[in-house]
Symmetry: C2
Subunit: 201 residues, 2 copies
């Protein structure tokens, strides 16, 4: 029935690329059509309008991204091991999808809180296993006292911000693409080491 079975996928791939690079407001439907190599009207044939195409991409990306996080948070690993797993997994992921975090956070900041809540409330139970683990280790005296929320924010921050601020960091540290990538590779072990050094007794 279909002439080319992957047209819808081509559109989705193109939309993802354009939206994540330019944001909803900066993306042009024509850009997406060009990127997909199709006529602009086809976009509206497969997806009613820009808003729906955007939501399709955005929901998938933000939920997928968060799902991967909470999967590690809820795993059975011990705390220190889990910190190592999370940082290396997450940094590795962002190395290969450097635009996603900034895209998600920029768009979340454009939308009302109830929209944001709807996006995350379903899947990730809170307090999750990681929060309880941290509380337990503090209570047991195995790590120094720290609020789980603060520790988790610290961890996520160090994993993700260097990518969001990549242009700034590259410019002010005066490093080229290759050097920057080397720094990020090293962070996969550097960040967990930094965290564990801070909380261990």
């Amino acid at each position: 029935m279909k002439k080319d079975d992957s047209t819808e996928e081509k559109i989705l791939a193109a939309a993802r690329k354009v939206f994540t690079a330019k944001g909803m407001a900066g993306a042009r439907m024509q850009d997406i059509a060009d990127e997909a190599g199709i006529n602009k009207a086809l976009l509206h044939y497969y997806f009613r309008n820009k808003e729906q195409l955007f939501e399709n991409i955005f929901k998938k990306l933000s939920q997928g991204f968060w799902q991967q996080i909470s999967q590690v948070f809820d795993s059975e690993e011990a705390l220190f091991k889990k910190i190592e797993s999370f940082c290396s997994m997450y940094i590795e992921k962002v190395i290969h999808n450097p635009y996603i975090p900034l895209f998600i956070m920029h768009e979340l900041n454009q939308r009302p809180v109830n929209f944001v809540k709807k996006m995350f409330n379903d899947n990730p139970p809170n307090p999750n296993r990681l929060v309880m683990q941290i509380q337990a280790e503090v209570k047991a005296g195995n790590i120094r006292p720290i609020a789980p929320q603060q520790l988790i924010m610290n961890m996520i921050s160090m994993c993700v911000l260097p990518f969001i601020g990549k242009p700034m960091f590259m410019s002010v540290m005066n490093v080229d693409e290759k050097t920057f990538n080397d720094l990020m590779q090293k962070r996969k072990t550097e960040v967990p080491e930094f965290i564990i050094n801070s909380i261990k007794k």
Copy 2:
């Protein structure tokens, strides 16, 4: 000669508000005019076009932001004290300007590298005093070995990312505005403590 001496300032304040909230692509000239309470044509009378108005705002914000950072970096304080100063100063600043970092990073990511370089290359000398301080303390054996660039990225990351990701954090941690603000206030001492605990011997 001028009817209202502060018209230009009203425009700049309005433009700053709209641009930082919606970004260059999402901002409408009409929005800025409405926010300033003036006719749209006046925008073009004081600033030739959207691009120039944007550049005016963007340059001031990004350079000012970076200047404040490098000012602390280059101060005469001892390392640990400097880390404390930076974190409390920076978090305090972002509490009162929560949109700025995300705005700057989003816009920097939309522009070519040479544009970014032009924006930062002038003022902040690199390697700056903070880099040299870290190297010296490592060499003297006063702190554990760490690359200055990694430590500085860690510090900036923990100070700024919670604000960039505020909607996400509020939603997944299920906290309200007040609780979030409390968390951020505590970070002014929590983050430097976290860093110093990690690097001290």
